[in-house]
Amino acid sequence: MSDTKLNVLIVCGSLRKNSYNAALARTLPALAPPGLAIKPAPAWREIPVYDHDLQESAGFPAAVVAWADAIRAADGVIIVSPEYNWSIPGGLKNAIDWVSRMKDVPFKEKPVALQSCATGPLGGSRMQYHLRQVLTSIDAFLYGKPEVIVHLAAQKFDEKTLELTDRTTLDIVKLQLAGFDKFIRRYHAKS
């Protein structure tokens, strides 16, 4: 079981090009333990604002289906997101709202780990605790510790290249990914 390759998806909660969270997401494949393959999930940016009438008349948009299918097929999901107004970015939450309406909700019993970067001192932690609440409602299997809450992000990424240079942060991300790998395998072994 420990020789099997695990496939994990990254969902990034920010759309902007120079996002710290996107930069953190880019570091993950190289920091992952052997046996944990990490790649980005399909985009959520084209998903329309959730409207039940739209769901009833036109069905689930193609972008929603693609996102859901990828998550459903993955062994785990890592959500790397900024905090907007002390909570979850609306765009990311909107994608979750859509897939929560499917018959086979892709997050159900899915191992999920959370990460966030912020320039301020709380590192996106308010968002993470809200996201835990939301993911609980759709029965995801949430990974605990270590948490990856990257505060004062401007000091931790190279100004020009956005490479993550802070040693402590790199170490804790590595630790979380190794822990997430074990978490998923333990869950697979039991189910």
Binding site: D53, G90, D97
Partner: protein, 191 residues
């Protein structure tokens, strides 16, 4: 002063036509104290998902400016929202995310009242506390009491006739709207 003309805008967190929360919102003018005028705010359904790159290149979409202007001009805002996945509907949160970036941020110092209807027993008990958290960051003035949580709403609201059929619920809403009028008189006005 108690009957001063108040112009309130209402924002519904659900887009669907037959939404219970929409029925509640539509009932508000009939339950408002004398002098309180309530109209629906411009819609957020066509807001693109928030992207700082878009904001910095093409600026604020006209729909965002329209809603921002309406909120800024109003004496108060009433938000009537469903709860999606134990949290704020992504579309509504996305609207707040855009508005939070508008210069002369429209929610700063703005009196807000919250209401929610849900078929479940908590009546939106999670979403309103999540909204309060976002509104702390947005520096709004959220009315504390009375709270309006319409649980088991299918028994209290008829979505065929579009009426709140439960008399106690109508009574509670009346009380909140009166309290909101007093709150605005005491705390509202130009920031």
């Amino acid at each position: 002063m108690a009957n001063a003309a108040l112009n309130i805008v209402a924002i519904c967190g659900s887009l669907r036509k037959d939404s219970y929360n929409r029925i509640v919102m539509n009932a508000l003018p009939g339950l408002a104290p004398e002098g309180m005028r309530i109209v629906e705010a411009p819609p957020f359904s066509d807001f693109p998902l928030y992207n700082a790159d878009a904001q910095n290149t093409t600026g604020f979409p006209p729909a965002v400016t329209a809603l921002g202007d309406a909120v800024r001009a109003a004496d108060g805002v009433i938000i009537v929202t469903a709860e999606y996945n134990f949290g704020i509907p992504g579309g509504l949160k996305n609207a707040l995310d855009w508005l939070s970036r508008v210069p002369n941020q429209p929610f700063a110092g703005k009196p807000i009242a919250l209401q929610s209807a849900s078929p479940g027993p908590l009546g939106g008990g999670r979403v309103q506390y999540d909204l309060r958290r976002a509104f702390v960051f947005l520096d709004a003035l959220v009315l504390n009491k009375p709270e309006i949580f319409i649980g088991n709403c299918t028994q209290r609201i008829d979505d065929k006739t579009g009426q709140i059929t439960d008399e106690p619920t109508r009574g509670f809403i009346k009380q909140q709207l009166s309290a909101f009028a007093k709150f605005i008189a005491a705390h509202g006005g130009k920031v």
